[in-house]
Amino acid sequence: MTTTLPSYDDVVARYEPVIGLETHVELGTRTKMFCGCPTDFGGEPNTRVCPVCLGLPGSLPVANKAAVEATIRIGLALNCSIAQWCRFARKNYFYPDMPKNFQISQYDEPLCVDGYLDVEVNGETVRIGIERVHLEEDTGKTLHVGGATGRIHGATESLVDYNRAGIPLVEIVTKPIPGAGALAPEVARAYVTELRDVIRSLGVSDVRMEEGSLRCDVNTSLNLPGEEWGTRTETKNVNSLRSVERAVRSEMLRQASVLDAGGRITQETRHFHEDTGDTTPGRSKETATDYRYFPEPDLVPLAPDPAWVAELKAALPELPRLRRRRLQQEWGLSDLDMQSVVNAGAVELIEATVAAGASPAAARKWWLGELSRRANETGVELADIGATPAQVAELQRLVDAGKLTDKLARTVLEGVVAGEGSPTEVMTNRNLEVVSDTGALTAAVDEAIAANPDIAEKVRSGKVAAAGALVGAVMKSTRGQADAKSVRELILERLGVQG
């Protein structure tokens, strides 16, 4: 299928996007939502199951107090009201990822409602409304076999592992977000990033998108200025922060091309493809299953004691936005500089690097410079680049001690990122340490002088600038492993000239 997409600038000049995000977070409780099976990631198939999470007859669920508490804390951190009374509900559907033929979720009585999260986009604060935060259970994992691709199309049967079924899952739904205009993709990304940071600061989930403990569905629609909001699509399978941004952008372009051609947007679920950055249609919402929600008869209502909720609220940790302001002051950064640190996803990395002994300026230089560049080139998150804050601090110590020049340090960092070991190990193994042995360096300098008598004569006669060529020769013969400034001083000294 080949369609010519309009340019992004053209699309946002003519259409207004409305976005919305549904985020699922797997809680880091020790046990599942309604039974005592452990929740750790991995594990042989069907080894973390019991009669409750397998939905065997006669078994009864009991809600996990830690999961309820974590959900309330998320709600409080998102400025939500906490329900004084609410119930779980059965979401009925026919699909084997839940062995019971239903998922225990919440429907019209979520635990937390009506909050907001402030996020920074291009130095501006955007307030994202939170519709609801509710608690449910995760589904099992299905493996489709018999087909060529492992995906459901063409598969002849499904193999199901219920280890994940019943793990507490928190769903966070935003209110529709109009008015973001051309910045809609950035707003979506900034929201998910901020939400991830908030949840991480609460310590209730490891919120790792690549492991699926944070999953995001993105709703997008377009409308003409002054007209009603358009029909929305829901994009699933968005598995990284970068993909959140790309998915919104790609869906805006696709919808614009459909609308431009006089077509109509179908309300449907679409799947995002990491490799192409495109979305393809999934199930159509118009024929979606009727879930026949009803209050879960096997669980009694939740009525969080207001005193308990107040206690949880008082004990919330410093939230990321306030923490960033504090760090900005401590690091002496301008708003713009701090924003670039945040955009690069480097706040925690720099904080940890400073804690490991580096100066804020040095920590920022490495994370925003060399490492960010590599992260962008390879399309991975900065935190997953392969270098740790401790290693970056160690690298800077080697520079400060004069063992590495800036240039050599960059090479060492490459080795660290490639998994060759600690900075010291890479420096030693690749033989990158600065030639600080004065004897060896003097020999190299004398050699360069002897090989370039004309230049040496110029320098002697006072043309100090000509020494640059000799510095170059020495740097070449030491394969860049000398400190250029020291080399220059040494050359002038050997030629009897004052620098």
Partner: protein
């Protein structure tokens, strides 16, 4: 007027993946109607001061501590499965995509 139509029963049967014959549809629609009519009688006496209830026992906050309990072995877990492969439950393919969450 019937409380549930024949079409609604057919819809529910489809959602539940039950193969129901035309004849059975008539039978079930009639039977379900009787049940729903009976429930509607209760609905009539429910006044505004009586909140709907989903549970017969007036309890709230029955919670468990986040403590592990023993699991089944995979053999036990799969013992009731119609079929298994690679230590997983084997089921016919389902055309709908992940519907939950």
């Amino acid at each position: 007027m019937a409380a549930i139509s024949r079409e609604e029963v057919a819809h529910l049967a489809r959602l539940s993946r039950l193969a129901v014959t035309e004849e059975e549809l008539d039978t079930f629609a009639g039977q379900l109607d009787v049940i729903l009519q009976a429930v509607a009688q209760v609905g009539k006496v429910a006044a505004a001061d009586i909140p709907p209830t989903s549970h017969s026992v007036p309890l709230t906050n029955v919670l468990r501590e986040d403590v592990e309990t023993p699991c089944l072995t995979p053999e036990e877990a799969l013992s009731g499965a119609p079929d298994a492969e690679q230590q997983r439950f084997r089921v016919p393919r389902i055309l709908n995509e992940d519907l939950a969450s």
